[in-house]
């Protein structure tokens, strides 16, 4: 096994092009678990921690570009949290302080779990993912990026560079159901935006289908929206909860979220 530690994005992309089998590591909060338990024995690990371009965030013409290496702790406060309160709320529910200090949005996208808590907020805010390789960069909508459970649209030679989002600045919230307040994988979760500007309701559910799913409806159909969200999900029975419970809980979360956002 080998660890490669590039210092620039260009160097990282060159390494990924030459060694497409290299497995990227950012915060390590998903990948290290697989390494520690021998579920994964990659030949090459690509350590992205020293790539300055992946860190931090920037803003241009009201559009935010969140570096793949942005941690949950960095998303909790400040300007990004003000622009994307739904993402800040979700970040607050992730793991523990130690996990939030290391875990990144790029890693959440890389893992592409239906339980990834950054995903529903980014989906309701219609985020795009910026993918980079030595061939250039491309942007795909988050919906297109998440192709299946723990599967994403990355090509072998690509890295996630950033998440690009034009904040709606409309009333929004995130809710998560779990057995306790800290350190829980969600049983189900919901992000909702009441987009008055576009006369639209958007909700995204987590842990309730093979991928995080988005539901849209005109604002004047608010009466049936909670039911519609519950009906759109395709949850399964597993150790964390039954399909029937998840569907019911999603309806309850959607109704509460609407109350919160339309008050």
């Amino acid at each position: 096994m080998d660890v490669l530690t590039p210092r620039t994005l260009e160097e990282a992309l060159t390494l990924k092009a030459v060694r497409p089998e290299a497995v990227p590591i950012q915060g390590g909060t998903d990948l290290m678990v697989s390494l520690n338990f021998d579920h994964l024995r990659p030949e090459v690990i690509l350590n992205l921690n020293e790539v300055a371009e992946l860190r931090g965030w920037s803003r241009e013409n009201g559009v935010l570009r969140l570096g793949a290496g942005l941690t949950y702790t960095e998303l909790l406060h400040g300007e990004v949290a003000e622009a994307l309160p739904v993402l800040a709320e979700a970040s607050r529910t992730v793991g523990s302080p130690q996990i939030r200090n290391r875990g990144t949005i790029g890693g959440n996208l890389g893992t592409a779990s239906p339980a990834g808590d950054a995903l529903p907020p980014l989906l309701v805010e219609e985020a795009e993912v910026e993918l980079a390789s030595t061939r250039g960069t491309r942007r795909v909508s988050l919906g297109e990026f998440l192709v299946g459970p723990k599967q994403n649209a990355l090509s072998q030679d690509e890295l996630i560079a950033a998440v690009v989002v034009a904040p709606s600045r409309q009333p929004q919230t995130f809710m998560k159901v779990g057995p306790r307040n800290a350190m829980v994988i969600s049983v189900c979760s919901l992000a909702l935006v009441a987009d008055r500007e576009h006369g639209e309701l958007r909700a995204a559910y987590g842990s309730s289908g093979p991928v995080v799913g988005l539901v849209r409806a005109p604002l004047d159909e608010v009466g049936s929206f909670a039911e519609r969200v519950a009906a759109a999900a395709s949850p399964i029975d597993d150790v964390r909860g039954s399909a029937a419970y998840r569907r019911h809980a999603l309806g309850v979360l959607a109704a509460r979220a609407l109350e919160r956002c339309l008050a």
Binding site: M1, I25, G28, V33, I99, R102
Partner: protein
């Protein structure tokens, strides 16, 4: 592979396996067994250290990622053989039974008190939410944090 890092203020080098965690490197290569290995999956916090001043689970940091960085372990908190005030408070409050969780709690508590010298109970609970204890019970641990803050 070789890594060079600062541990508890001292420049150190270690020869690590590429796939091993910082926790393994600290315990097995650098002879710092203070950080404990209980779950190796980020759930218990007994391996907590400061990485560039920020509390992290050392079991979830690749040792190679610590190359060129600064680590503080529980061993780095005591000065000249005297207990650190947070350590003394844990001992005095009876917040230690088997002691396995204690190093991680000490690191997390010290970080909390540096950021917030007079924390509310909610802040304490939040700051320690990534640290599990299976024997003492959290009431005495909260007492210890309050005692350390008061001192």
């Amino acid at each position: 592979m070789k890594i060079a890092l600062t541990v508890n203020g001292e420049a150190r080098e270690a020869d690590v396996w590429a796939g091993e965690s910082l926790l393994t490197a600290l315990r097995d290569r650098l002879e710092l067994p203070g950080s404990k290995n209980a779950c190796e999956q980020g759930e218990c916090g007994s391996c907590s250290v400061l990485l560039d001043g920020v509390p992290v689970c050392s079991c979830l940091v690749l040792a190679a990622q610590a190359d060129g960085h600064e680590i503080v372990t529980v061993e780095g908190l005591a000065r000249d053989g005297d207990l650190h005030p947070v350590q003394a408070a844990f001992a005095d409050a009876g917040a230690v039974q088997c002691g396995f969780c204690t190093p991680g709690l000490i690191v997390a508590t010290d970080d909390l008190l540096r950021r917030s010298p007079d924390p509310t109970d909610d802040e304490i609970r939040e700051a320690l939410s990534g640290n599990l204890c299976r024997c003492t019970g959290y009431a005495k641990i909260l007492d210890a944090v309050r005692l350390a803050a008061a001192r």
